[in-house]
């Protein structure tokens, strides 16, 4: 086993010249083949784009966890045009124990660019992508509204753009995601939308019984109660907007919507009430039992049901995106409605 590999696998970031990244990675893996003690694996190229040291550390920690579930070549970029001019790179290895006690490892490359050298990042990242393997780009933080050429070049080889709209400070950010989804070959994925998956599952389960199916189009109103840290921040409202938009898009009719934002410690939806005319359906989060429970009562009554609702870390949400073999076809469908609702609220 090479010394370089042991250093990289122990968590040390090994500084390398950016012109020699691939060569150094090849050196790192050389010698592993005979021993069969380490399996090198990758299913995705995952590029995290950050602009601060804090985001860079967060992205590195998050993706090293997600690499255990979805092996990937991780490339973390920190690009700050306002910083001093530099272009530096490091390599490390993310390893975990796989079956039969073997170590499964994947590579992580860190690139830090400042000043005018930021413009060199897109071609450098492009050269480091493993061929014939899909590319995901996780944009950490708010989306850039300027420097369109830089963003466009970066996104050019990207199959999936991952954002977390909970950080968006303006409806225009949703507009950027919509434009990417509509006008480019890059599919959009939003972690804030992924967080709603269990709510969608629980809500869908209300309408699974054949006798409930026709009631989807009879939904008259919906009240969405969400817990937020700061009710004035746009990103905090997006989960509720997405839920309402999804319900309208899938039920194919406009629904009277009430948003109720409550200050609380854990962000996210707390309760959804559906007015079905002759009955009422409630989907509610039970944080102690970690489930969403559904209740339908009125003229129609169904057995209560639960959907597991574990608090998911960013790494788990990213894994969820990477494990979807096809891009999310629902997000492009609901984005226009969500934008419309956001504009109305403004």
């Amino acid at each position: 086993m090479t010394d370089l590999f042991e250093r990289a696998a122990s968590g040390e970031e090994v500084r390398v010249d950016y012109t020699a990244i691939e060569r150094t990675l090849a050196d790192m893996w050389r010698g592993e083949g005979d021993e069969h003690a380490v399996t090198r694996a990758a299913l995705w190229n995952v590029v995290a784009h950050t602009s601060t040291g804090e985001h860079h550390t967060h992205a590195s920690e998050t993706l090293s966890k997600s690499a255990a579930a979805v092996p990937q070549r991780t490339i973390i970029v920190r690009a700050d045009p306002d910083a001093a001019s530099e272009l530096s790179s490091w390599i490390s290895a993310n390893c975990h124990l796989g079956g039969e006690g073997k170590r499964v490892c994947s590579e992580e490359i860190a690139i830090v660019a400042g000043g005018e050298r930021v413009s060199r990042v897109p071609p450098l990242v492009n050269a480091l992508l493993i061929p014939d393997m899909p590319v995901a780009m996780w944009w950490v933080g708010d989306l850039p509204h300027e420097n369109a050429e830089y963003v466009q070049t970066l996104l050019d080889p990207v199959d999936r753009l991952i954002v977390d709209s909970v950080h968006f400070n303006d409806p225009a950010d949703l507009g950027i995601v919509k434009r990417v989804a509509d006008d480019t070959a890059t599919a959009a994925a939003d972690l804030n939308w992924i967080r709603l998956e269990e709510w969608r599952t629980a809500t869908a389960s209300v309408f699974d019984p054949p006798e409930m199916r026709e009631k989807i189009r009879a939904v008259k109103g919906v009240r969405i109660v969400a817990s937020v840290e700061d009710e004035t921040y746009f990103g905090e409202r997006i989960a509720s907007l997405f839920f309402a938009s999804w319900l309208m898009a899938q039920s194919d009719h406009r629904v009277e919507t009430t948003f109720d934002l409550q200050k609380g410690e854990r962000r996210g939806l707390i309760r959804v009430e559906l007015d079905l005319g002759d009955s009422k359906a409630t989907i509610e989060r039970d944080p102690v039992r970690c489930v969403l429970s559904t209740n339908v009562d009125g003229r129609t009554s169904l057995p209560d049901a639960v959907t597991r609702s574990q608090l998911k870390g960013i790494d788990e949400l990213i894994v969820r995106v990477l494990k979807q073999p096809n891009s999310d076809r629902m997000l492009p469908k609901i984005l226009p409605l969500a934008l419309e609702l956001a504009q109305k609220q403004k």
């Binding site: 299913l43 079956g99 869908a204 019984p209 989807i216 970690c290 076809r329």
Partner: protein, 517 residues
Amino acid sequence: MSIVAPTVEPNPLREGLEQERVPDASCLVIFGASGDLTHRKLLPALYSLAHDGLLPAGQTIIGFARPDYTDEAFRMDIREACNKYARTRPVDDAVWDSFAKGLFYVQGDFSQPEAYNRLNRKLKECDETRGTGGRRIYYLAVPPQFFPTISELLGAEHMVTDPERGGPYTRVIIEKPFGRDLQTAKELNRVAVTTFRERQVFRIDHYLGKETVQNLLVLRFANGIFEPFWNRQYIDHVQLTVAESIGVEKRGGYFDTAGITRDIIQNHMLQLLSLVAMEPPVAFDADAVRDEKVKVLRALREFPRGREEEFAVRGQYTEGSVSGEHAPGYREEESVKADSRTETFSALKVFVDNWRWADVPFYIRAGKRLPKRVTDISIHFRPAPYPLFKKLPGVQTQPNVLAIRIQPDEGIALKFDSKVPGPTVRTAPVTMEFRYATSFGAEPPEAYERLLLETMLGDSTLFARRDEVETAWAWLDPLLRTWESDSRPPKPYSAGSWGPQEADALIERDGRKWRRP
């Protein structure tokens, strides 16, 4: 009065979710609910489905067996079983509370009509309280001799309905063995269709619920590169191995009347062989896939009368050691006759007489007390047509092998020759590997989870059809009769070895060797 099954559109709120189709709530009745299969496999699988949110609200499970249990005692018993055997263990309290609300027990003797009356009352009560709408699934986790009685009484007590006759669905799941020969299989099937229609019958072969077995279809028919050379022109031979390191455990009584050929080859291995050899189906649906599998079974060449030994070897393990532990001989096992002639190992050379596979041998072997537990399929390709490097010193090329590991450590490996770096031309075999665990991380669902869900959804693609079962028996029956009339004992092999020497000779006569899986 019959309940008319309504035709409903798919739930639009399911669009884009991981599970786009969720079955309608039904009552699943497990006959033999006090048994091992229920505790180790069925209820843990159902709990895991509930845990993953794949069961509909109102799904109801009723255990039906002779021992006296209350609902509460049954639930406690099952919770313990789920904690031991469920893929998603330990049991999650919230999921369990919801799951247990739909779990009931009815005590009864399978041969007593009153027991069915009690069961029927419970079923109707659940229709009222849990929205199961008259939909029924009967899982017969009982020995096959009970099937005629259960089937007859279900019919007599009007507990079977069919959407084509204006009622909600009833489905019945039958466990192997589907008979012990062609005659008994036909009799079982005849009994089944007096009460049920063929499309209501789900014959479970848990191998078909395994991810890697299903991946055989994906490997062959979702990739463009394999199918063009998946034929006699490029393939030299195929090997299939199902090896178990354990002996007969507590199944000695049953196994001694069956043998490994009936227990493993007639069902699991012929299913694997069908999937490897079948033509592309016209659609991925139950009948199209099974039509093609049956064609393979129909094309199996009969064993030539009087020359069976050239094509089939049966063995029986003697004392030895497996994984460093002492293992008794088969005849010393519990409930096994001291002079038993039952085979615990079987190796066959099989031909599929059709255009694609003419004269390509399929070597299949299954055995107990072999060195390790492994199920493996290997496709051995013909050597390169012209040995370009043969005259160079240090060059010994080897045929390519595509190995598909069904269990454990599921995956696919391709062996090919590569140049050894250096100034001279030397070659060495290298392996390109794909492993499920490495690439996809998460543990795949248990075979029973998939198969139970498919039954609820009414998709029988992964279940054996009547003609599949009968065609397999029709092919194997003459060989089994020859063996039964042979007074000689099976060839002995030491526990912990790869079977009797005669099994090696079977393949080595053709200039080939068993692959070490």
